[in-house]
Subunit: 164 residues, 2 copies
């Protein structure tokens, strides 16, 4: 699952992890839940990648840090992270839910290759403006939108024109 990096975020720093954890902790307190080592480990692991991870994939990464953490806890923590804005779900239409972290990330969209599953991130202000415009027009209070482009990447086109 390749992914071209087209903005300029450095690898996450210790400081950023701490700040993100504070956001989580405040959220937990607000809704009457408790801090746990598992939740912190999962958040930290999640911040360390810029990939679009399935629960299963994140679980595998988390297990390298603490083999005792179960799939269910990763699953539940991702929901919590989405609640407090640290994660968002991205549907690549491949039948599984993927998440990406939203801490210090510019809002962006994805173009996905339907052959190999790789994706490119791109930025477009227009799409967000369209959300506002259409919401106003039909009297919806809009909360979010999804926009994905599907196609075949250059690599895959080369491969299929030059078969083995």
């Amino acid at each position: 699952m390749l992914q071209k990096r087209i903005d300029d975020q450095p690898t996450i720093s210790r400081e950023m992890v701490r700040e993100a954890q504070e956001i989580l902790h405040r959220h937990l307190k607000r809704v009457g839940l408790k801090q746990t080592a598992q939740r912190d480990t999962i958040l930290k692991t999640f911040l360390e990648t810029r990939d679009h991870l399935s629960t299963d994939e994140l679980h595998r990464l988390v297990q390298k840090k603490d083999a005792g953490i179960g799939y269910t806890t990763v699953y539940r923590t991702l929901k919590l992270l989405a609640e407090c804005g640290l994660a968002s779900e991205v549907a690549f239409h491949d039948g599984i839910a993927r998440y990406e972290h939203q801490y210090n990330r510019r809002s962006h969209h994805h173009m996905v290759c339907t052959e190999c599953g790789s994706s490119v991130e791109f930025f477009s202000q227009e799409v967000g403006e369209l959300e506002q415009e259409i919401g106003r027009k039909y009297h919806y209070l809009t909360t979010r939108h999804t926009f994905q482009i599907y196609g075949i990447c250059e690599e895959c086109r080369k491969k299929s024109s030059r078969p083995v």
Copy 2:
């Protein structure tokens, strides 16, 4: 599942059904499959509604015409219709696959209420242009895109501000 009608297609005519069936029949022949009464009934039923139907919902409608037609056949026929461009999948993010027919329909997008599930269709040329532009920029051969806006409709906002 309400849906405002914002373009001007009349109810499907007998003539249109015939034309759409010809498209299906040509497709079947092309890929070495066979015409059946079930497939024709399913296509006809599908064309008669402008809703965004799950396989289950379409199956229920089809059964009113021919109670012997099974869920599996509806499921498989929807795939065939998508293959020949007569249907397209629309993901409203409610966990089930929905289809709408694409015979004599203007391309459009959807805004979905996350409270009641109702949807509004809207038209935007810009979105299609953006697909082209981004595809060119990153050397993808684009095939399609998805764009949905999520929010809360006027009805639902009224309801929640005036609780029983």
